[in-house]
Symmetry: C2
Subunit: 302 residues, 2 copies
């Protein structure tokens, strides 16, 4: 199971009552943050998930509305008592920006490990989530991310009993290891069901639509995507500023076969998000506009 | 007249419902900001005083809770259309910190002029306020500030009439200039009343009490001073962390002959500021605890 809290939904600048667009993912006790604009620590405090378990920050790009809250969050993680490393992933230039911002947070009780990536990487996060990156098209180095939580095949207890295997050997086979019992070799395939679909989440913001992003979001349970503009009338603006109209984000969701689209990163000019939601639903019906503090829980189906 | 808005009252970190301690001063249409922690732009937006007229930022010191909001404020000033220079005053190290923070705000449509000062300077702000600085005792370079708005002596119209001076000559004399009329010299002293007390405001935070601070706050109308701790039980902590207990700030107000003390920069642990207010009033009765967004207006007496 993973919980995703959309701490804020606003693009460009924080507003009274609306935080900057970012997402906090909880997998077991481990936290992963996507983007960190000014003020991010405040709705995070209200959420009550704590700061100590933040293992990874994935940054889309280095515009201020996605990174200016880093010093505050780094301090909160320190106050919470973390001493284990914190990993920060971001595009080219991430180290330079963080070196600048950390001039006001020079001493922290945990190491920060910065990974500058290009958008073609797969890596494993603290807590075991599998991350995939893709380049986004925003005019400056920018990344989109996907998280996958794998699901083990079902353990077929009846088959294990048929093979005469005592219960104490089951867990190893369940974990995918071979065992030897009574001079005979047993393999996981003998007691495990077929592969099962896991849980997946994609975070795509501050970009024009591209085929690589469709590929990244293939079959995800949840696509959290930008809606900087809410009407196709703003398509020229979206092109100029390398953002998306909500219908374009819905187009990615549709082409990728996503299960649900949640819209976020609304322009500060959008006071009512229903227009964005309605327009997107014409392309991809299973769409919702995010609200600040909204939590989406993704679980394995029964 | 000057208006002082205490945009936030919290020390160390912003909290849900409580912004970081800072103050925005309005003199005519000109704005001056004292300190700029994370989130400062948000209550400022709610206030509705605009951003374009920000002429000066006075920073007490370079701890994150006093400067992390600078990139956001600099962007808001840019969005508002400012092209005139913005002056930033602060202690040694200000340029280094701002260079770091501006990595996420590298291009602005107005020049920023940084003045690193030691705490013994007098300088005139955009809008005509006279500023004075004093060193504070916070373990790192730290400054306290005072603002003075001078008041012209009253113009004695009866005297001008007695001298037979036509009305069109009065304004020059009122502004302090000599004039010649009918072959005769006239001086301001002939038509002006005695000197009059102006308006003054002192901003003292993140410091232990010192005599220099008492001198700085001499006879001010309003002392805005820190109350990091609300009970003398915390005096050892206050000494260790180079902050003040509310009674110590009240001691500065009393010794300086201030007219009013407003307490701010409360520890995040202080949920009810009445204890701090009560303790301070035992030393200096004319004390109030600030609330976020509180505006104090200082005007010349009738």
């Amino acid at each position: 199971m993973i919980d995703i809290c959309i701490l804020g939904t606003c693009g460009m600048m924080p507003l009274p009552g609306r935080w900057l667009s970012c997402a906090l993912v909880r997998n077991g006790s481990t936290l992963t943050l996507f983007d960190c604009g000014e003020g991010t620590q405040i709705p995070w405090k209200s959420l009550g998930w704590g700061f100590r378990q933040l293992g990874t920050i994935c940054l889309s790009h280095m515009h201020a509305d996605h990174v200016a809250g880093l010093p505050g969050v780094l301090f909160m993680v320190a106050h919470a008592g973390r001493t284990e490393p914190l990993h920060i992933y971001g595009p080219a230039g991430t180290s330079y920006i963080i070196e600048g911002l950390r001039r006001i947070a020079p001493e922290l009780p945990y190491p920060i490990i910065i990974h500058e990536i290009k958008g073609y990487e797969r890596f494993t996060l603290e807590g075991g989530l599998q991350a995939t990156s893709a380049p986004a098209a925003h005019g400056i180095p920018c990344l989109a991310y996907r998280l996958d939580l794998a699901r083990r095949p079902a353990f077929l207890a009846e088959k294990a009993k048929e093979l005469g295997l005592p219960v104490q050997y089951w867990s190893k086979l369940q974990r995918g290891e071979n065992i030897e019992y009574n001079g005979q070799d047993f393999h996981p395939a003998q007691v495990l069901g077929p592969p099962r679909r896991g849980i997946s989440f994609a975070y795509i913001t501050d970009t024009r639509p591209t085929n690589q992003l469709i590929e990244l979001a293939q079959d995800v349970d949840l696509l959290l995507g930008e809606s900087m503009y809410d009407t196709v009338d703003d398509l020229p603006l979206a092109r100029t500023n390398a953002h998306m109209v909500s219908e374009e984000t819905a187009g990615i969701a549709k082409a990728a076969g996503a299960h649900e689209l949640v819209l976020t990163h609304f322009s500060p000019k959008i006071h009512d998000t229903r227009q964005a939601e309605k327009a997107a639903r014409n392309v991809f019906p299973h769409t919702r506009a995010a609200k600040d503090g909204m939590v989406v829980t993704l679980d394995f189906p029964n």
